[in-house]
Symmetry: C2
């Protein structure tokens, strides 16, 4: 690897060497700077010093590159969630709160990447990126099950709790990233996420301990007696 560069910036020789990685890296930067819609294949190619047609040797089209970017995003995302969880130490509740913080932090640090990951259906519905997304959900489900068990409840409701926590985190993250939830308006995303997640978890524990894993569709407001 004497004639090729480090993957960032134009290269010298005729062949690039690591064009695929370099393009994805450039795409990540573009998406961070200008959002998923602002990303352009041509500009990514130009940034790594290559012609507009060159990417088609490595990706079938623009959507394919986006999908690969999303896949890597999900992989990184899952790792950060798992690291924050840290096997549930020192206890499931504390670890779970850390994971919630990591979720929101990722979305806010990389809003473009996060939007690309969860943006369009078609963009990321390749099998690979789907599997990576599943891993993130699995991390949440794993944590939910640990919390229920630690509180002496059956973890039968872990799946539902995980979906609730995921949807809630996603909603808070998206609203925060899109500016609908601003601290100035007395709506600090971190606080909203913490309190709502706590409510979902606590209620889930209560129901599990009450022995009604799937309460029938009755009018709510008070627990089914």
């Amino acid at each position: 690897m004497s004639k090729q560069d480090n993957g960032c910036g134009p290269r010298r020789g005729y062949h690039h060497g690591r064009l695929k990685d370099a393009l994805i890296e450039a795409a990540r930067h573009l998406v961070t700077e200008r959002g998923p819609a602002g990303f352009t294949l041509s500009e990514a190619a130009k940034r790594v010093g290559v012609t507009a047609g060159a990417p088609y040797r490595h990706f079938t089209d623009r959507a394919d590159l986006m999908s690969e970017l999303a896949r890597r995003g999900f992989e990184q995302f899952s790792q950060r969630l798992e690291r924050a969880w840290d096997e549930g130490k020192p206890d499931a509740i504390a670890a779970f709160r850390r994971m919630g913080g990591a979720y929101l932090a990722f979305a806010r640090e990389e809003p473009g990447l996060y939007s690309a990951m969860f943006g369009n259906v078609a963009t990321l519905s390749t099998p690979d990126s789907g599997a990576a997304a599943d891993r993130a959900l699995a991390a949440i489900r794993n944590a939910a099950a640990a919390i229920l068990r630690q509180h002496g409840a059956s973890d039968a409701g872990a799946r539902d709790l995980a979906f609730q926590i995921w949807a809630y985190s996603h909603g808070v993250a998206m609203l925060a990233v899109s500016g609908h939830l601003n601290p100035a308006h007395d709506a600090d995303p971190t606080r909203i996420l913490e309190e709502g997640a706590r409510n979902l978890v606590e209620m889930s524990i209560r129901r599990a301990l009450a022995g009604a894993p799937a309460p029938p569709p009755s009018p709510w407001g008070r627990p089914a007696t």
Copy 2:
């Protein structure tokens, strides 16, 4: 209005007459068919039988049209939420559940429009569309306050509950629309929304009745005793 058409399809005379409305209507269809990213100013112009430059007599640019589309979307959205709420009849809980159903139904019936509304920050951050969005949130907050009051609690926590419900509904709606939450995978969006929203509401009532409107940041899992 003898020489102009009904706003859909090509017109006959030199002047269109209702170009602005016709363009927005065409945009709505395009966004429904192909998503917010698939919408093209040129095609909208072509569909209503006008040159590509004509829209610039009514909109400053593509983003301006999108913003106006989002504004109308929010207006419609707010109306549907308010209609579903129906002044809280017959009781706040039942009305609230109806509103949740209306929320999800809107997002699923008009996924493109919903994505456009909540998609990009810059796209809809005009004052007008912001105000329309606020109206939707106000409807939710109003319902939250009614629920708390009906249960003999102070409505001081209505604002927080509204944000929680909104974020949760948004998360479920987005995951459902983007295909991450599919019924086949044992994750029916309607059920997830119902159960989670119920948990948030019930927990909020419990806390309000316990007299702790804003619990301090203590490790959760059990209510602050």
